[in-house]
């Protein structure tokens, strides 16, 4: 009896494999972002003291991360995501500085010159909008202490202690040396320990 051999087109399995790989990658990205988004929002909120600004920046960071780094190995995603987010936060600081400079130049009234600059400084004990959520006094104090830290120290603390990145990953996220991470973290810990002595 004659044997008939059917040759299936080779492209079809390859395309199916590719679409399956795409679906798997898409699911992994979704899980990664879902797992990180709340902490990312809180970190950004601590930096900007604004929920709205934080949501915008986290969304931008998600777009940037997915656009540029989705195809990197999954193990590299956390530092890469925080690197993108850190860029967005730094851009936000720069924009705000420029805006404040322009506003200061054109909209300053003569009465402003008489005001005490200390009165204009943000109150480090002001809980801010975040702390509607965590009612306890310790949470309020922690939030205020974190907001009072310089940005780099705060990032080092949050990425190392809260997010659990190691020194190398934190350095990659903050685009600085591992030595700088250790220095920032050490200073952050000292400042927080002082500020939270009575609360934690």
């Amino acid at each position: 009896m004659a044997t008939i051999t059917l040759e299936l087109p080779r492209e079809l399995p390859r395309q199916t494999d590719r679409s399956m790989a795409d679906t798997t990658k898409q699911r992994a990205l979704d899980e990664f972002l879902r797992g990180i988004e709340r902490r990312a929002l809180r970190m950004t909120e601590l930096a900007t003291a604004s929920r709205e600004e934080a949501l915008d920046l986290v969304q931008d960071a998600m777009f940037g991360f997915v656009r540029h780094y989705a195809d990197k190995p999954e193990a590299d995603w956390p530092p890469l995501f925080y690197r993108v987010l850190d860029n967005r936060i730094n851009d936000w600081y720069r924009r705000r500085q420029v805006r404040n400079r322009w506003i200061g130049t054109f909209l300053r009234s003569p009465e402003d010159d008489d005001e005490d600059p200390v009165d204009q400084a943000p109150d480090p004990t002001d809980p801010g909008p975040v702390l509607r959520l965590a009612g306890s006094q310790a949470a309020v104090a922690l939030d205020a202490a974190l907001r009072a830290l310089p940005h780099r120290q705060r990032q080092a603390f949050l990425l190392r202690i809260w997010e659990g990145l190691d020194v190398a990953a934190t350095a990659a996220a903050m685009r600085c040396s591992e030595g700088s991470v250790k220095t920032h973290l050490s200073r952050a810990l000292a400042a927080l320990r002082r500020a939270l002595k009575e609360h934690l």
Binding site: D22, Q26, L29, D30, L33, R34, E37, R38, R39, L41, R42, R51, L55, V58, Q59, M62, F63, F65, V66, R67, A70, V130, L131, L133, A134, S136, A138, A139, L142, D143, L158, R160, I161, W162, L185, S186, L189, L192, R193, L196, L200
Partner: protein, 121 residues
């Protein structure tokens, strides 16, 4: 991190931060969800675009080749149709003015011309 750092207050700080992240309000969570979906959708649509671009390029190339093939013989015939002597050149100009019907009726005109010559002679 300093290894000698007492861990209790750090664990407490982590717990407070976790608590604040877990207790985000529904509207914020919904906006985070929408942001995530939009970011992922961007990747999905880029993937589709990646498929469509080669297909569109192929279709455009085919259309171009067809257009050239369809146009080239007509253009090519116009060249040889231009004869060596001047009278043919003027014929070509007439043809350009009157269109292709003129050439289709050329035999008829030749026959008509012959008839007139015969009747005149």
């Amino acid at each position: 991190m300093n290894e000698s750092e007492p861990q209790s207050w750090l664990a407490d700080a982590r717990a407070r931060l976790d608590e604040s992240a877990q207790s985000l309000d529904a509207e914020t969570l919904s906006r985070l969800n929408r942001a995530r979906q939009a970011a992922l959708e961007q990747r999905r649509s880029r993937g589709l675009r990646g498929w469509r671009l080669p297909a569109a390029g192929l279709a455009a190339s085919c259309a171009l080749v067809l257009a050239v093939v369809a146009w080239y013989p007509a253009g090519h015939q116009a060249g040889p149709a231009a004869p060596a002597h001047p009278i043919a050149s003027s014929d070509a100009e007439v043809g350009a003015d009157d269109g292709i019907e003129f050439y289709q009726d050329l035999e008829f005109y030749a026959w008509l011309d012959a008839q007139e010559e015969e009747s005149g002679g």
